[in-house]
Subunit: 103 residues, 2 copies
């Protein structure tokens, strides 16, 4: 895999609503699957798949403790990146609003 594909994989892993909800829920630190899936209101199996995908693409890491598996965001820059997306979104919404007002 070349670097463009690697970068794309990271961004793609973050560019999905269910996965973004997981990232947001993990802002306060690690959580086990049994906490995550009710919090984001998704099925356990679906949540598990998304968690695994994010581990594979370097977004999350996993820690086992007894029967529970805790997931956490691997790099603090992930949050910065997501926050930038939020900022861009806000600017977009404001820009569109201004256009509507000007029309």
């Amino acid at each position: 895999m070349n670097k463009t594909h690697f970068r794309a994989e990271i961004l793609k892993a973050l560019g999905q609503p269910t996965r973004l909800k997981i990232i947001d829920f993990l802002r306060d630190g690690e959580r086990c699957v049994c906490e995550i899936f009710p919090a984001i209101d998704e099925e356990q199996s679906n949540t598990s798949r998304h968690l695994n995908l994010m581990v594979s693409s370097g977004i999350l890491f996993r820690r086992k403790e007894g029967v529970k598996i805790f997931y956490a965001v691997k790099h603090p820059e992930i949050f910065e990146l997501v926050d930038l997306a939020t900022l861009i979104m806000t600017q977009e919404i404001n820009g569109r609003h201004k256009l509507l007002l000007a029309a």
Copy 2:
């Protein structure tokens, strides 16, 4: 569309190799389609579709000049966001390398 979906759409728009190549090529400023598609080595029609998608998701804007259409990145934060993805990628590669060395 709610905010989670909006954020996801922005990240997803950036999380595709062909589109990342376009963003990289637009770092120096606006370019017309006829410059972009040879630079990234993709078909004109495919390039056009990706450009349109990024306009729709708020990543790029378009300016018409005669028969040419110039595209440019709409928010400087887009570059910051992509650069963060590159940083995360680098950390991942280094991390994996260290693990291999330690093993």
